[in-house]
């Protein structure tokens, strides 16, 4: 599998480490009233779709960047690759 890195171009998947669902970017507010339930969902509940799936990959043997890769879990077709930093900033995160 080849991942087309937004900065570095196509790289072999062996250079990357897979983390999991990209929703891990959205860590709940620990001060919220429902923090316990929110963290339970954040830690354990996953949709596990057969099809399109946004997931986090870490370019460990490369520039050490985190990516959000949108991949079809049934065909391995990759439809988009974004820097996780850009995705988090687009969601209004300051840094």
């Amino acid at each position: 599998m080849i991942i087309n890195h937004p900065l570095l171009g196509p790289r072999d998947a062996a250079e990357f480490v897979y983390l999991g669902d990209a929703s891990l970017i959205e860590r709940p507010d620990w001060q919220a009233d429902d923090a316990a339930e929110a963290f339970h969902a954040y830690g354990y509940l996953r949709d596990n779709p057969a099809g399109k799936h946004a997931e986090l990959w870490y370019h460990e043997q490369g520039d050490r960047s985190w990516l959000v890769v949108t991949r079809d879990t049934t065909t391995h077709e990759i439809t988009s690759v974004e820097m996780a930093r850009d995705v988090a900033r687009a969601k209004g995160r300051s840094k």
Binding site: L7, L8, G9, R11, D12, Q61, G62, D63, K95
Partner: protein, 188 residues
Amino acid sequence: MPEYTLTSAAPLAGTDISVAGTRLMAPADLAIVSVALPLGEEKPAGKAIRAAYGVALPEVGKSSLAKDDSRLVRLGSDLAFVIFVHPTPDAERVVAARLKGAAYTTDQTDVWVALDLSGPSARRALERICPIDLHPDVFAIGDSARTMMEHLGTLIIRTGDDSYRLLSGSSSAGSFLHAIETSLANIT
């Protein structure tokens, strides 16, 4: 009590192998200093680098050669290496002084080992172990890439038409040399 005198020795010092006109050697006295760009202060850091070295901070995947032969390699959006010949163990202070505090510097000299591969078969020697496309039209002179060769994290820089500088972790220097040496021997 006996008195001991310790002498520092580079892991691959003295390596110089030639196979079919292609040479693999370990450059001496190479210093490596990492330059991390402060978050939100990337522009002033870039300006300080240009003022200190006379060349712009290269784009990710590129490197540039300063007038004093220091090579600036951009490893990621906020990280670069300065690679230069400097025999004394104070490379970080030298780079920090030149950048006047505009970026975070860390000495990486002893963490890496370097091998220079050059000659007409250099590309053939790398094609079995390097996952990066090294076609001359794709990987131009000055281009750099952090990847892995035989499972060892490697930084490759194209330094000339048929010459490459390879850097890998010094703790696995022997295995790294073995990997490159074996691949070089396989071209014949």
